[in-house]
Amino acid sequence: MLTALIVDDEPLAREELRLLLQASGCIAVLGECAHALEALPAIHRLKPDILFLDIQMPRISGLELVGMLDPQALPHIVFVTAFDEYALRAFEEHALDYLLKPVDPARLQRTLDRLLLLARREVMVPDSEGAAAPGSGDPGLVAAPLRTIPCIGHNRILLLPLAEVEYVHSDLTGNRVVAGERQGTTELTLRTLEEKSGFLRCHRQYLLNPAQIREILLLEGGLAEVVTCGGHKVPVSRRYLRPLKDQLAIP
């Protein structure tokens, strides 16, 4: 039995898909989310095998959501859309699976059969043949570039534009994103952010936006401290100082 999570902003569309999946008898629906911000923590928490993902959703589209997921822990993604010419063309091109609304039960069953087959194969011989079969492509190829970092602030949701973010700090409470006066906790991992945002690692627990560096204070013992444009201080560890200098073309 495979597990699935449904992400769609329309309650009736979610219900319809849930009923169809339940009727198939081979999928356990772990939950439903109304938008990407709800989906991010749910995906991290529930770790579904399959993600049924609507494309047009408020603020963060399905394609942007894919870009926010950790590429190394990506579930199988089945895009679900009413009509989206360009996305559909991209899906065909990259051999990604998709369903059209209203969903045809027979077509859904074919997708599920393929996913079940794929799951069985992965257990026995990981990474075997069938490279161009639908559903076998890498969803990262159609992912939209990261523009904002979605965060939970004090009783509110923040979408912090990438260019305004000064640094990201990971501690026990989670990953804190700081942009001037505004800050929030994000579901995105430091590894995902480092890969997608162009931010630089300056410490095991810190990611730095190079465009927001005001000055670098060199300290004793090969340590340093970066002062950001917003006046925040970010530590630079011995291990990351050299790569940081290289990145910024400082001798």
Partner: protein, 564 residues
């Protein structure tokens, strides 16, 4: 005055007649043109000098030899040269005529040379006098010219008496020739000027008639071909040209077939039949005017041996980039000549029609573009909305068949309104039905995520507005506003009368409006342009936005309430 003198007057008159006939013949040539008006341009002055010098010399030759001297009409050329051409021309004409006379010899040779120069100068001074006082009409007055010529002759007689020696001979000569020369020169100069005046009057009459006719054609023809270059519009146009030009027949063709034919021979020159005339083919392929006058270039009708038409003028009609799009043909029957006026007019008409055809094409394209934009607007609504609506319907059928039926009703209302809009203007009630059907479906889709408030006074429901001016704006508010909200959204629709216009307000609490630059503003942009094009620049669509809180789209329209 004795018999001898009378016969001298008559002989001199006979000479004068030949002289004037030559002048009359010359007045029929374009050479005479510069003489009909006072000009300052050098080439015209040169022509003036050459003509009057010639007449000055002719005057001498047409003179009668009397007692080793010549009774003549030389003064006419000199005086008129001065009057028409000014002092410099007068002086030169006098000098030329005088030197010529001097070369012929005789005891008055020197006196005659001086007097001719003086006559030219006298004319020139009169010219300067009237030009300075801006009395050009006086300059061309035959009576005035007669007076000047009379004075000039008196001057000549005095000079002969002063200069020619022996004085006794001179005195005797003057007694003989004074009377005939005074009369002949005075009359001759006046008649010469009369001819100049005639010529001028004719030119003016011709050009007045020409412009009047051209303007009348232009006025009647205005806008006919704007509606397209078809058999019907060309028929109308040909009728106008036939009536206004008075030619035997008028035809209009495109590059392949006859579109219209009015006049002699219309029984066998039938619109819709292919072109057969070689002249028309020549005009089309060479892109130039072809004139078959019936004499040098024979014309014969290719359709019917008994056709009465005898000559034809084919002028190409030019469209974009000067390419031939057709021809206009004027015909005259056999035994009637083409007036040059109609030929010139024909070419002017062809230019006029070419312009109309071009602007007609342009209008057509504009209209198609506008239609295309409406189609685009309709198409924009379709796919995403349609499939989501069907998906919603599919879920609703399962839970509540009764609600599903209602939803199907809304969906069909929406699409019917979408398809039916051929008439451009609708009532607010009608447009709101469209919006309502749309919103009912969206409310089913988003459930409690979308609430709608209506603030439309009953009294305004019959106001007229352009179809599709509210629905796209509401759709934008849902698509780019409320459907992008993470929390529930509220849409408000309001209508109110402000001063003398109607204001429709669509507001949402998303506040996510981004000033265009991309496609998301397209629908609203088209609405704005359509309203401005229809009702004027003071109306249209404007947007107010408080980021994160509110977007308000305000549509202003003229207040055109129907009170029945």
């Amino acid at each position: 005055m004795g018999m001898e003198q009378l016969s001298l007057v008559i002989s001199l008159f006979q000479q004068l007649c030949v002289y004037l006939v030559i002048a009359w013949l010359l007045s029929k040539t374009p050479l005479f043109m510069p003489l009909t008006q006072v000009t300052l341009s050098l080439p015209h002055k040169l022509v003036c000098y050459l003509i009057f010098s010639t007449f000055c010399i002719l005057g001498t030759y047409f003179g009668l030899r009397i007692e080793n001297s010549i009774a003549n009409t030389r003064a006419i050329g000199a005086v008129l040269g001065g009057i028409v051409g000014g002092p410099a021309v007068g002086l030169l004409v006098g000098l030329t005529g005088g030197l010529h006379r001097y070369s012929l010899g005789g005891f008055t040779a020197l006196a005659c040379m001086f007097s001719t120069v003086a006559e030219g100068l006298l004319g020139g001074l009169v010219h300067r006098h009237f030009v300075a006082r801006r009395r050009l009409d006086r300059l061309f007055n035959p009576w005035m010219v007669a007076a000047v010529a009379f004075v000039a002759e008196l001057l000549q007689m005095s000079i002969i008496l002063l200069v020619a020696r022996p004085l006794a001979d001179a005195w005797h000569l003057v007694q003989n020739i004074a009377a005939p020369m005074l009369v002949a020169n005075t009359l001759g100069a006046a008649m010469f000027m009369g001819m100049i005046l005639d010529r001028r009057a004719m030119l003016e009459k011709y050009s007045v008639a020409f412009s009047a006719r051209a303007l009348k054609i232009a006025e009647r023809a205005m806008g006919v071909l704007d509606q397209g270059f078809t058999q019907q519009t060309c028929g109308q146009m040909a009728r106008i040209l036939y009536e206004e030009t008075g030619v035997g027949a008028v035809a209009i063709t495109d590059c392949h077939q006859l579109l219209a034919f009015i006049g002699i021979g219309e029984d066998h020159h039938l619109p819709g039949t292919p072109i057969t005339s070689p002249h028309t083919f020549a005009a089309i392929s060479r892109n130039e005017v072809v004139y078959a006058d019936g004499n040098l270039i024979p014309y014969s009708c290719t359709l019917h041996p008994g056709c009465k038409l005898g000559s034809s003028l084919v002028i190409p009609l030019r469209g974009e980039e000067g390419q031939v799009v057709g021809t206009i043909k004027l015909y005259e029957p056999k035994r009637k000549l083409f007036s040059s006026m109609n030929r010139t007019l024909g070419e002017g008409i062809a230019r006029l029609l070419s312009g109309q055809i071009l602007s007609g094409k342009y209008n057509e394209q504009k209209r198609l573009l506008a239609q295309g934009e409406i189609k685009l607007l309709q198409a924009q609504i379709n796919p995403h909305f349609l499939f989501n609506a069907l998906n919603t319907l599919s879920a609703v059928i399962r839970r509540d068949p009764e609600q599903a039926r209602t939803l199907v009703q809304h969906l069909s209302t929406f699409f019917r309104k979408n398809l039916k809009r051929q008439s451009d203007e609708v009532s607010l009630r009608d447009e709101l039905e469209h919006v309502q059907a749309y919103l009912q479906i969206e409310q089913a889709r988003f459930a409690d995520h979308l609430s709608v408030q209506w603030q439309i006074p009953e009294a305004l429901l019959e106001c007229r507005l352009l179809a599709f001016s509210l629905q796209p704006v509401v759709e934008n508010a849902i698509k780019h506003g409320i459907s992008q909200m993470l929390e529930p959204g509220c849409l408000t629709l309001a209508a109110e009368v402000r001063e003398d216009y109607l204001q429709l307000v669509v507001s949402d609490n998303a506040g996510l409006y981004q000033p265009p630059a991309d496609k998301c503003g397209l629908g609203m942009n088209i609405v704005d342009r359509r309203i401005k094009a229809r009702y004027g620049e003071q109306y249209g669509v404007r947007v107010e936005c408080e980021p994160g809180l509110l977007t308000r789209v305000i549509i202003s329209l003229p207040l055109t309430e129907v009170l029945c």
